[in-house]
Amino acid sequence: MTTTAEPAESVEEELPPPPADDEDIPVPPGAPRALLRSLLGPHRARIAVAMVVILVQQAALQSGPLLVAVAMDRGIPALRAHDSGPLVAVVAGYLFCALLSPLLQWAFIKISARVNQDVLLELRGRIFRHAQRLSLDFHERYTSGRIISRATSDIDALRELLSEGLQELLTVFLSVCYISVLLVVLDWRLGLASLVCFLPLALVAHSFRTRSRRVYRRSRTAAASMIVRFTETMNGIRPVQAFRREKANDAAFAVVNLRSSGANAEGFLELARYVGLSRATANVWTTGILLLGAYLVTEDSLELGVLTAFVLYLRRLFDPIDQLAMFLNSYQAAAAALEKIAGLLAHEPTVAEPAEPRELPPPPRAEASGRVTLKGREVSFERTRFAYRTGKEVLPPFDLLIPAGQTVAVVGATGAGKSTLAKLLARFYDPTDGRIRLDGVDLRDLTTPELRRAVVMVTQESFLFSGTVAENIAIGRPGATRAEIEQAARDIGAYEFVAALPDGFDTDVRKRGGRISAGQRQLVAFARALLADPAVLILDEATSSLDVPGEQAVQRAMRTVLAGRTAVIIAHRLSTVEIADRVLVMDRGRIVEDGSPQRLIDGSGRFATLHRAWRDSLV
């Protein structure tokens, strides 16, 4: 094997694309608002009902003092005159309001909760579906933690606004309107003078909004990086502990943690400033109005009683400032969150769904003239070229035709472009130039379901989802019966180990299947692929963790499974080649050798050398 040894430096490694330099994707202007509109739109009717309900409820609630006054002014004198009628009527009215108001409150909470929850449900669903729709290159840049934070902590911010803020806003708005009208009616001069106060108040609110928007943007970003750090640690707990990272991680986490809570505190401080300042404004203004009123009283153009009532009401006009602050606060937090979410949702997947989808020709059924049914499809790469966004070319333009039913092994050093070729065929990426066709249809013209029915890829990462082993296999074909699932496992040689698990196929693999070895996970991944029964199967390093017997069982299974299917197999271990009809050798993005395994082995090219090295590495 030493014959092939070259200096390591000469191995041209495939380097990944650089991560996004800015952690945030741009938010198109107006997107957050449009998102909010589209979320609330369907609930217009319910929102209207809720507003009417709260309107009537406020009226019932506010009528209390009024009825007390009527009781004092009319009821008691009448009772003294032995006429209990008016008092009975007033008390009845009071009791009616006392019953109506809680009933309406009850109804309002129920209606608004429904609206809130439906909005949140819809938004969660949208984020989730969108994240699933986004292309892999996006996921590689955006990091999982940040998507998780969009769907969790950002949603939380919105939830707070919806569940507490909206009712406050409504009642504040109503009471401000109610009292404003009352003030103007009481005395229009003083009334208008009082309302002018809303100008400085609006200024204060505006400056608060501008400042807190900045703070909350920072807070959302900080929360996201805290979440990224948190999930990364929990998902890598084994190496964390084995390499004694606990203390170093504590320190690193402290930075993001303090930044996050510091941003929260900052927001709270802004709020305190806003409340203090607007309170002070309102109180100074109230004193001013009192002075003005006093002047008018001495001028005899205002009654004393009116002034008293006026000033008392004026205080109530400004009372909701506190509530408004709470609302504005949750609003700012939610707005920042909504902005982040809108940015994510506005990001279009680079691998897009076709505008006018085409269908694949029907599979050539019942061509069972031979023993084997031809299930495969023809794959053709036409002047296909792939480069990263940075412009670095990974695959120079090339043509490749894989006839239906052929099993092709792709070999070559790490970074030769094998995986990229596979990912293009699986449409994880789209080619930069040229195209790839499946039975004559461009991959880009196929809908995702259509494409995935035809092309399935098994990668070297064998992630297990929480759920049972059976469920994990069934990802290949959701409708599959238990018998089919077990058969797929049997075909690939995974049946024995699964059956030996605590609950067999019903064993919960728990969090990412930490207890199931990498080799076993690869077998599960294979079973999944078998169950999917695709026309084109791509295996990318799918046997790297299997031991020799395991790999051989897979090979054996593959011989039957792949018969009639089109298959592209990427493997470091050349054992795979034994089941291939054709071998492609890649080097620095180019296909440098192409032929039947035997022909290449007998030749003197790279493959012959590689193959010799591999034979030597066996026992």
Partner: protein, 621 residues
Amino acid sequence: MTASLPTLTAMAENRQDAPNPSTGDPTGRRRSTVRSLLRLWPYARAVRGRLAVSATAATLAMLSTLAVPVVLGRIVDGPLARHDLAALWPPVGLLLLLGLVESALFYTRRVVLARPLGRLEAAMRADLYAKLQRLPVSFHDRWGSGQMLSRATTDMNAMRLFLAFPLVFLIVNSVTFLAGIVLMFTQEWRLALIVLLPCVPLVVLTRRFESDYSVTARLAQDQNGDLATVVEESVLGIRILKAFGRHRTMAEHFREQSHRLRRTELRKAHQLANLWAVIVGLPEIALGCALAVGAYLVAHDELSAGTLVAFLSTALALRWPVESLGWLLAYANEAATATDRFFEVMDEPEPEDPGSAHALGAPDGIRFSGVRFRYPDAPDGTPDLLAGIDLHVRSGETMALVGATGSGKTTLTALLPRLYEATGGRITLDGRDITELPRERLRELVAVAFEEPTLFSATVRENVLMGAPGADDRQLASALATAQAGFVEKLPAGVETQVGEQGLSLSGGQRQRLALARAVVGSPPFLVLDDPLSALDVHTEALVERALREVLGSTTALVVAHRPSTVLLADRVAVLADGRIEAVGTHQELLRDCPHYRELMSGEAALVPEGPLVPEEGVVR
């Protein structure tokens, strides 16, 4: 309106419809809200002064609000009635002062808490994070990671919010309420009794609400955590979902979970609505009755009209403190369940460590004696995964560990750095039982390269030097050279390039080589390599093997191997089967004497001319 609180049966149902394996804790247990919240004290202690200031400021602000009408009355009755503008100035000045003091108090109430509460939240989260890092891997196996995340985010938020606002008002409003009641009794005790009467059902119903609501709130928080787990998995497993076009299935799963959460949230709203209705309604009805009786008394001259007005104004003024109880209680409840969830983790016993490090003995290598292991949740009646491992890796020796898929090789290696605790037998390093070593020291001695190479969001240098924090650049370079990680030089910033989650996503083979470099850097005395070359191509593998051989020459190593090429790195080979070491010997010896080994190394390949040695079922154990 009075009696529509959800029944206990409904609660029982609700508990049934949420069988929640990932939360790992029976959620139905009821704890008192107060007792739960009291557990926050150790954290809240640090801010107790600030909380007191905040509560005082809130009370004073409320008092100054109450004082304003009094001053106004003075102004109206005095200078204004007399049209004496000059005398107007002092009370108006006082009013202005009151207004400014009030706004200052409003400001103070918040300002004093802002940063301390931020720090408190950070402290709790940091403690949670630190605790989670130190809990055994078996704990993490049991809990969905989303559950932990929701504790660190949503729950923390609930606790902070509670301390910032509802707690202060719970105190202030209770004080106001009590003061108001005393005032009402002095004004007219009969009417006060009428107004107080609904307090009895109110207390009963709020207690009932509290216990019901806390169950629902807890359920919602757990479901929130489950939802986070689904989101996390869907993102981490995105390649598989894409490869099979299964995002719809996952979305369906997510939809179900989020619908479940929605139902719980709606149930919460329903309970809250009921409470509100009761809290708003009962006092109002009592007030109506008081009005009727009061008017009757006034009409019969048993009460002055002024007293009745004063009484009713007092009663109306108490409306807000009582009504606010509804959401204050809801906040308190959510904070209490969040606290419960927090302490569920914090109460987990942390594995104990021997205090002082014993020195290792004379070089003896790694010795497993009668080591047994079973996973804590393995069903009764199944044999132990490891059932008495006896193995001696001599000092300086490299031992390959070979066994069928799932035979427990990786588990055995995880026992060495005590990621899992052996359930029986003992493991010694140079004669010293590993349980006598502090974990920190043990893990310093034993370096591991995991089957699945995980890189962290850090530079290449940091990732590699994790293995030996004290190592210098030369050692870094030599570790990278051993692992054939020459690609590092071509990275945008060389060894300073950020990798991992928040950096470059390297290929499997590249990650594996960095993980290998991490294990060998700083020449650890004991080395565990779990199938360290699986993702490498033949060519690179050969180069790594050559370089690795030098490193292995100077350490004691246990290498899990799947292939002959890896086995050749070892001096001797141990075969693991049925939970025991079946055979130990050199590669050649075992090939000759151990059919199981022969089968593992060559399968039924043509290298064994007689054909398959074992029937097919035997291939995978």
